[in-house]
Amino acid sequence: MSKANASQSAPARQLLICCGTGCLANKAAAVAEALEAAIQAAGANAVVQPDALQLKRTGCNGFCENGPIVKIHPDDVSYYKVKPEHAEAIIASIGGEPYQALLYRGDDKQPVTRQQDNPFYAPQHKVALRNIGQIDPLAIEDYLTSGGYQALRKALAMPPARIIEEVIASGLRGRGGAGFPTGIKWQTCAGYQPTPKYVVCNGDEGDPGAFMDRSILEGDPHSVVEGLTIAALAIGAERGFFYIRDEYGLALHNVQAAIQAATAAGYLGDDILGSGRKLHLEIVRGGGAFVCGESTALMASIEGKVGEPRAKYVRSAERGLWDMPTVLNNVETLANIPYIIANGGAAYAKLGTEGSKGTKVFSLVGKVNRTGLVEVEMGATLRHLIYDIGGGIKRNRPFKAVQTGGPSGGCIPAEMLDLAVDFDSLTAKGAMMGSGGMIVMDDHDCMVEVARYYVNFLSEESCGKCTPCREGLRQMLRILTDITEGRGQQGDIELLERLANTIKDASLCALGKSAPNPVLSTIKHFRAEYEAHINEHSCPAGVCSALCVYTIAAESCTSCSACKRACPLGIISGEKGVPYSIDSERCIACGSCRDACRFDAVRPIKKERQVVAS
């Protein structure tokens, strides 16, 4: 991919095409080829000569829903939803008026030319994502041009204790979920004598709804390699591992390429930049087990064992991989390290809140108008994230809750929209930062079903070592399934609470300890919804298909036929001028028609109760 020759001066203009996984799924590769062809075709007649144009395939810009994204530098023009057939028009427009049809149109429908004026990007503050979308992840020279490996040079000249001091001063806390102070972790490990020591990058991102680590590994792998190398210098490790999910093909490829390029350039290997220090990095592919995101399980997996967590009476910093002192950090944490060393811990600590410094990457998904990857200062409010950056709830529906922190996080209700998000505020509300997944829900989401979904996920992913987690989650799942299918009983809520507390108290690892969070937080904030399911056999959100069917309110129906086209069973009938109707006998309550209706005419009604076999 990278044909750039470092010895030549860079062409005056760059065409940056986003080739993150999201844009690739939207055919970004074909767009890139079409652009290349269009550049050649324009040839000598072009206003801008082909040799003055460089096409660059970058990592994820985070605004995947509007991909493929093409940016032109230095003109500062961003195009969205680009298709191959637009290539000619884009090339022809270079140096002149931007091609209007592909500009982003914000809430006021006015075209936005520059990325930094786009309402999705404008409020963001990028540190961990600083290079992504700007550089070709496969070109080490791109990373070097943007200041890459300068922090490593600086760190090589610092005594390890000074490196650690900077990281402590930055206030950086682990971005993988637990929020443990990174500098303290390094200091603890550096204090232990036995060698060899190891550094590990945790890229086993498994939280449903979170994809920041993937994006960083794909789009800026060198920043993580550099961060991990600095960690190794700080603690005195000479070997390190990347543990990356096997499903993340592009991330695996790009990290492998980064390790090779960095080794060839002398930033890794037996003699880092002539300092006599050495570090060898290798990649271990995850086997598809959520629990391997837990640090001790991950280390067991690297050792070639079944990925079960162990009790942490002794921390990994003392006895980790192969029982040797080990520092394990998350991808996003490590991506922050070069910035901290280059700019100083104090500069980083200026960002964020009292207890949570710096920025955090969130994946904002669900029922928001603008979904994607966003990086903001710690302490931003949920309202800012969801309404300013996310552009509010789809179709202006009411906001109901946001689920943060992955499957073991919690749901935060609308009353708390003004909560400033940091590690401590979320934990205080029964949710957690987790890895930064933010799933926004509207009034069409049933909170009991949400809880059931997460417990189902967790019970499948429980490694089975601790009985309360293994068996307790299964029982919770059984009860929740009963409730969502109309077989709930009096006392179920209390039983769920008791089970939840036992699992919390009696599981070894954080997965078990936090597994009941989705249930406890939904019971706490949405108890009435549980009660409606149990007492009235109704699902107020109209989601639980055993409890409701849909009907079309004749007075609101404009007979536009959107519902009919959406219905997977083809059981909606009607014609122009006559309100449509649904065959309620055959309706499976999938909700497709309700999502399609722009007039709120499709409404759930309680299903006539039948004897449900258990």
Partner: protein, 181 residues
């Protein structure tokens, strides 16, 4: 250890390998040759086997065991613990439906039912002709495109039920699953 691996299967006494064709054995030998004889490579070797054979053939376990110096029991523990590994053969094309939170919210379960109807299989099963396996996977990190369907390595975003038959049909062509639109 290398010699044991490279040598052809013994005529009668060693019956363990007889489920592997000479071709399969060559593939297995090539995989083992990539990894030093250390126990920590057990998972990586099994992942490569999975990729090559679409499952972990029983006959292969013995040779992996000898190569890395572990026990067959430990290899089985890995093969049953990690979701990426399977002891039963999988289809030529693996259809993964993401049931992560975002996809779930945007109707992934409807897609599961529809794919099941088209292929007459449930998640975790393989079609009779061995062409497709259907799997429900947890979040694949493409939430902005929810609901997401992946066939082999190709991602399909914002998939609707109407699109499913034509997407699946692309993989029924004799040429295989090229999707260059």
């Amino acid at each position: 250890m290398e010699t044991t691996v490279a040598s052809p299967p013994a005529p009668a006494a060693d019956s363990i390998n007889d489920s592997l064709s000479p071709n399969d054995l060559a593939g297995l030998t090539a995989i083992l040759a990539k990894y030093p004889a250390e126990k920590r490579f057990s998972l990586a070797i099994l992942q490569d086997l999975q990729r090559q054979f679409n499952y972990i053939p029983e006959g292969a376990m013995q040779l992996v065991k000898e190569h890395v110096g572990t026990t067959v029991g430990q290899l089985y523990a890995l093969a049953t613990f990690y979701k990426a590994l399977s002891l039963a053969p999988k289809g030529q094309h693996i259809i993964k439906l993401c049931d992560g939170t975002a996809c779930h919210m945007r109707g992934a379960n409807n897609l599961v039912g529809e794919v099941g109807r088209i292929l007459n299989i449930a998640p975790g099963e393989r079609t009779e002709d061995g062409l497709f396996s259907l799997e429900l996977v947890n979040c694949v990190g493409s939430c902005a495109l929810a609901p997401v369907l992946i066939i082999d390595e190709t991602y399909y975003g914002k998939v609707t039920m109407e699109q499913l038959p034509s997407i699946i049909n692309e993989y029924r062509q004799p040429t295989g699953g090229e999707t260059d639109e």
